[in-house]
């Protein structure tokens, strides 16, 4: 793909071009002390000069003098909720009285999701990798999830290469970042006074072609390469150099699970912020007059007791069973299911764990116990 230069002062033209092409623009913004993706209409809303200090059980934003908009690691929540929404109405059922016949009839009707095209600005490589996993899960198996599909098809993804990984990040070790190589419609590299821009799809190209672009200046690419390289090298956190996939399964009876269960609160924070977790539960919401009921799905967590409930029994009755399920699924079972690890190294589960359980340490412990 051809790379061009978009002056920072021309950046608002990108937002305008997206809006004029019918997209609702979503961008990273500071909200309640965290960076989150939400509707954005102006560049002034971008988190200029903010960095995020993340480590196990810790997240703080810091303001500095930088004029950069994307000099932070990743948003508190990934872009997952834009395709796999936390709450989705699947269908409704109505009870219709038929006085002439005896009794009532019940009719079911699908709820088509209300979807507007959305362009997400500032997507990270880790989140693109996780979205590809979600695509594999919801779109590439025996049954296609039509609700996910409707939203996913309307997304335009504008990635910005990550230059400031946090202490929780290990995407370089999982092979999912910090620079994006695939899955974006448009890719940006942020420099001090300009962006290096390239299209990654026809959809992206049709937007890029509307922008006032310039030829690259002599050392633009040098700078890009340098800052991307630094981003890789800043990541000191690494998965162990071992067959994690095999060792987690082999060590399913390890004492380590008891050890971690003493700390784990089974709160589900990790699964709530994980960009690849896909579990959801379904429930009915009947209306008070009794004539209509909606069938809803909501994100669920394998840390909930109800997740493994079956006719009066909770299969994973202890916290250690649930932590084992989550970690083994993420780093091992996913390979069987999708040919790839379910972890993209975004580090959110570590950052947002209220007791600071570090997922890489957890994997290391279980693998090293085997080696000992």
């Amino acid at each position: 793909m051809i790379r061009k230069r978009l002056k920072k002062s021309d950046f608002p033209r990108l937002i305008t071009a997206l809006q004029e092409n019918g997209y609702e623009v979503i961008g990273p913004q500071v909200d309640s002390g965290a960076i989150v993706y939400k509707p954005l209409s102006d560049v002034s809303q971008l988190p200029e000069g903010y960095s995020d200090d993340q480590k196990a059980g810790h997240y703080r934003l810091k303001k500095n003098k930088s004029n950069r908009w994307f000099a932070w690691a990743n948003a508190a929540q990934s872009i997952k909720p834009f395709a796999f929404v936390p709450t989705e109405v699947l269908w409704s059922s109505s009870k219709i009285s038929t006085p002439e016949a005896s009794g009532e009839t019940i009719q079911f009707q699908k709820k088509e999701p209300d979807v507007v095209p959305q362009a997400i600005l500032g997507v990270r490589s880790c989140d693109l990798a996780a979205l590809a996993i979600q695509d594999a899960h919801f779109l590439q198996q025996s049954y296609i999830d039509s609700y996910y599909q409707a939203r996913r098809e309307k997304l335009l993804l504008i990635a910005v290469n990550c230059t400031h990984p946090s202490k929780s990040c290990f995407c370089h070790s999982t092979g999912d970042g910090p620079s994006a190589t695939t899955g974006f419609d448009i890719l940006l590299d942020e420099l001090d006074s300009a962006f290096v821009i390239q299209a990654g799809s026809g959809k992206g190209d049709s937007i890029v072609s509307l922008l006032p672009l310039e030829e690259l200046e002599q050392d633009d690419l040098l700078q890009v390469d340098r800052q991307n390289k630094v981003a890789e090298e800043t990541q000191t956190k690494k998965l162990p150099n071992a067959d994690v996939r095999l060792l987690l399964k082999e060590n399913s009876d390890s004492e380590f699970w008891d050890d971690i269960a003493k700390r784990c609160l089974a709160c589900g924070n990790c699964t709530s912020v994980c960009p690849s977790c896909f579990c959801y539960s379904e429930h009915e919401q009947p209306e008070l007059d009794g004539n209509k009921s909606t069938h809803i799905r909501e994100w669920d967590s394998c840390f909930n007791q109800s997740h493994s409930y079956i006719h009066g029994i909770v299969v994973r009755s202890e916290t250690k069973h649930r932590y084992r399920q989550w970690l083994t699924h993420k780093f091992s079972g996913w390979f069987d299911q999708f040919g790839k690890s379910g972890c993209v190294g975004c580090g959110r589960c570590t950052t947002w764990c209220p007791v600071g359980i570090d997922v890489v340490d957890a994997v290391k412990n279980i693998c090293e116990m085997e080696n000992a």
């Binding site: 699947l90 025996s142 399964k249 069938h295 669920d300 069973h321 399920q325 069987d336």
Partner: protein, 286 residues
């Protein structure tokens, strides 16, 4: 050992339930009942299933549950034998003839029925009215000449738990069908069958190693004991099939609840060969 193919037609009703009407309800025991359902047209004509598959039944305003299909694929009505244990199944129990409910399905992978033709079939089941194997017993008995010997091992806890008692006697009277019933915690004088664990009786028979297929469902410890006994009699792991259970909400392989190890039971199961899930059995909290 070649894998035996399980039958698994894809669901014709996927996302949203179709309306089905209750044609008959039979109370089998205080907490077990059978509903016979008729789907509305045209969903009815497209609905093709195999023994061992299941449907999602949707009770208006309450919720959905996965329930095994017990009727024969050639029957006009779709039958479900259900034990009332939770909110939805307790509600389903209240349904009367003419009432309506929602149905999605059929889901999952059923028994290797076609692959078992001309072979001996060994059924092992524990507990009450174990629907997944009832469907296969009916299927084979209706087409007995297509199959070899049929041996049925049915275990219950108490003598009083045995439902369809006369049916076992009828089956036992059919040439080429052996029925063995056991009650593990009962020994009153009037109990005509075996007292003890059902799996103890497996060794009473000899099996043709190359031509025997075992199909079982019930509590995991019982299935493990049955597998042990069948392997002692030289049955191949690949020829022993189990119907597994986990929480299921979507039945489409998406909601994540039914995972056993890395297997989505609603898609790759509920029927598995022992060789496929050997490492996943008998582990607490998996």
């Amino acid at each position: 050992m070649p894998e035996l193919m399980c039958e698994s037609p894809l669901a014709s009703i996927v996302d949203v339930p179709e309306t089905a009407t209750v044609v008959s309800c039979v109370q089998e025991t205080p907490d077990i009942f059978t509903l016979e359902l008729k789907l509305s047209s045209p969903a009815d004509e497209k609905f093709v299933y195999a023994p061992g598959q299941f449907n999602m039944l949707s009770l208006y305003g309450v919720g959905e549950v996965p329930i095994s299909i017990v009727s024969d694929p050639e029957d006009e009505l779709i039958a479900h034998t259900i034990r009332s244990v939770g909110r939805v199944t307790n509600g389903l129990k209240q349904l009367k003839v003419g009432d309506q409910l929602g149905l999605r399905g059929p889901f999952g992978r059923g028994w290797p029925i076609n692959a078992s033709m001309n072979k001996d079939v060994v059924i092992v089941t524990g507990g009450l009215g174990c629907a997944p194997v009832v469907s296969v017993i009916h299927y084979i008995i209706r087409r007995k000449s297509d199959f070899g010997r049929l041996i049925i091992f049915q275990g219950v806890k108490h003598a009083a738990d045995l439902i369809w008692k006369t049916q076992y006697e009828t089956w036992a009277a059919i040439p080429g069908v052996d029925v063995r019933v056991a009650a593990s915690e009962s020994s009153n004088a009037s109990w005509p069958w075996y007292s003890g664990h059902v799996t103890n009786m497996i060794s009473d028979f000899d099996y043709d190693q190359e031509n025997s297929v075992a199909m079982m469902c019930g509590p995991e410890p019982m299935m493990l004991a049955a597998i042990h006994a069948l392997k002692d009699k030289n049955l191949y792991d690949e020829n022993i099939f189990l119907s597994m259970e986990r929480n299921m909400q979507c039945a489409l392989g998406h909601c994540g609840h039914c995972q056993l190890g890395s297997k989505f039971i609603c898609q790759l199961g509920p029927v598995f060969s022992y060789s496929e899930i050997r490492d996943l059995l008998g582990k607490r909290g998996l």
